[in-house]
Amino acid sequence: MSADNINTLVEVAIEVLERYAFMLGDPPGTKGGPAVLPEPSWIVTISFTGARAGGIGVVVSPGLARQAAANFYEDPQTEDGDEQAQDAVKELLNIVCGNYLHRVERNGRIVNLTTPSLQVATLEAATRYVNGKPQAMLAVEGHPLLLFVET
């Protein structure tokens, strides 16, 4: 995967954040946003097979996911678990992935996506997980969001 693909992923993610989650994301290196991964980190991944095979993922803070859920749900959950927040960020990645594949796979052939999966990780484990993968850090309304491409 080239740097070009990461740039496309950044563009798509910013558009989808605006359109679907009503959140404003700043691209890497623009607003001196948070540059470190959150503790704890939620690592969300999705993979695809078919005309194009691979995977993408995001690392977000629970705070970002809860903000997305709060924007979205009429009655955001307050206490009992993070079901809405986890589901919101999984669906966000699902939409980002579909739109990303549409940009990079221009001949309209079928790519099959898996359903997104989410794991809760320590900052250290998340750093190890994304180490060496093409990646870009966005600042989303004060929260870090790391996009990466599985290699």
Partner: protein
């Protein structure tokens, strides 16, 4: 006349978006059923009548494509309109779903306005 609607998506967020938009659009609703995959939807459709189905494609167990094919093979279910709301934008997938017999195909992210327009189109002609 009030309508029964079935929403099939493995994402709670996606199902909530559709349910809330229907409410905002003041569509006369009797029941809004929700299912997390095609199998749950097919099981439910054995027991209840619905006027319109919204379905995702990429779901565990029975996916949207298979669900529509099975519905179209059953006399009782074959005339129920199905609207796909999927993140999949490939031309080949859209053609496949048209062939399977869906009435409309919207791609995520959709706006509440897009959804309202399609609901009005289908329920007015229902």
């Amino acid at each position: 006349m009030a309508y029964n609607i079935l929403i099939v998506d493995d994402s709670l967020t996606a199902r909530t978006f559709i349910a809330r938009t229907l409410q905002m659009a003041e569509v006369p609703l009797s029941q809004v059923y929700q299912a997390r995959n095609g199998q749950e939807a097919l099981d439910l459709l054995q027991r209840v009548w619905v006027d319109l189905v919204f379905a995702d494609i990429n779901m565990p167990t029975v996916n949207g494509t298979e669900m529509v094919r099975q519905m179209r093979a059953m006399d009782l279910l074959k005339s129920i309109p199905v609207i796909i709301i999927s993140t999949d934008r490939s031309a080949q997938r859209m053609a496949e779903m048209r062939e399977a017999g869906v009435q409309a195909y919207l791609t995520k992210p959709i706006t509440p306005e897009d959804l309202k327009a399609v609901v009005e189109r289908f329920l007015k002609s229902a």
